[in-house]
Symmetry: C2
Subunit: 230 residues, 2 copies
């Protein structure tokens, strides 16, 4: 038998952190999953995550496990819900603090085949281990809510992007279609986009304007309180 050296007067649950990692390939929202190598739910797909160590916060745990399991280093994850159903893990009582993060797909490719991590489009998600289906549903809802208030979409795009890439992203996340002209106007009126290059003199009608996110203007705007409506 294993040694069990950590003893308490009352029963303690195990605590894990899980990570729902969103990416965007220009067309669809994708989610990063790993295939479990051990029981329970061996060979099933699940979110990267694992047991919290006694000297780290749940956020630190989420980032550490993410890197260990997928090679992906992110600067920030955001917790969004704690799942505590009594029987959500067959091994022992486990509560998990679920986090999400947005990453640029381009910056990640490395981790994919070295590890057993893979990106899945939202409509191709396999059946997931534990209660991870539920975690995903709630994560997607949070993402939808949040993108209406903060320009988090830019974290999913390359630094320089076209207006239609941005529109595609919003349409993919919110599962809605927008009128192109209205979307342009709304985004430009917000004032948080800067043109990323001189428009060449020989600008054809066909070459799209490149933008970048203007964090400085956004900070000013945020102070005053604002809201993106869709």
């Amino acid at each position: 038998m294993e040694e069990k050296n950590y003893c308490y007067k009352y029963p303690h649950p195990a605590v894990t952190s899980d990570c729902v990692i969103f990416g965007f390939d220009g067309v669809a929202i994708k989610v990063l999953l790993i295939q479990r190598g051990i029981e329970p739910y061996k060979d099933k797909w699940a979110f990267p995550g694992g047991f919290m160590q006694i000297d780290e916060t749940v956020e630190e745990c989420a980032k550490r496990e993410l890197e260990e399991e997928t090679g992906l280093k992110t600067t920030s994850v955001e917790q969004f819900y704690t799942f505590s159903d009594v029987n959500r893990d067959p091994r022992e009582r486990v509560i998990t603090v679920a986090h999400y993060a947005l990453v640029r797909l381009e910056e990640v490719k490395g981790g994919d085949d070295a590890m057993s991590a893979q990106w899945f489009a939202m409509n191709e998600i396999p059946s997931l281990a534990f209660d991870h289906d539920r975690i995903l549903r709630i994560a997607v809802n949070r993402l939808k809510e949040r993108i209406c208030f903060e320009p988090i979409g830019f974290e999913l795009l390359p630094e320089i992007f076209t207006m239609s890439a941005l529109q595609n992203l919003y349409e993919a996340i919110l599962e809605m279609k927008f009128d192109r002209r209205n979307f342009y106007n709304k985004m430009l009126k917000l004032g948080i986009l800067s043109e990323a290059e001189e428009r060449p003199k020989n600008a054809s009608r066909r070459t799209p304007i490149k933008y970048r996110f203007n964090a400085k203007k956004y900070a000013e705007l945020k102070q005053k309180g604002f809201r993106l409506e869709f």
Copy 2:
């Protein structure tokens, strides 16, 4: 020495649930606190809460502890953040899942002096135990955010209320002043208020109209998606 009969291969944190209970007395938002009877932070004020049992969810724990410590039974609490700083409790590693709930002050009076629970107006909050100051700050932010999207304010008011009571509540939560006519128009246009009584024939200009919250109309509205803007 106490017996320590619950043993694990790896160290486990303790898990607690805490409750930020909001009430409204017609003028100001209040919060329910209890005075701690034991160390650590003996005699300091804190949110009701306590250790999760191994066979209950964090939400069940929150409701149980709330009732044990204040006599207050609530049907629902909502978790809003999990605090996991490594040293937030001097006894052992404790992570807490913080919840909030809105209650009608009128329905609570019982518990107050039997227990050592007391209501505090937001500007009279004493210094709190643990990291409960931080928990309160975040709870208040969530409340502000949420009241702009869902008519949770009605949970704080008596079933039948006047428009100015409702306006006072919104002004207290959001710490803003609204134009009375605009507030009336906005609320009535939403269509989630019903007049609670016949307007008497001898209606004087001075007797206010009584309303009640119309959950049915709200449910219809919610399906279509809506938003309260302030």
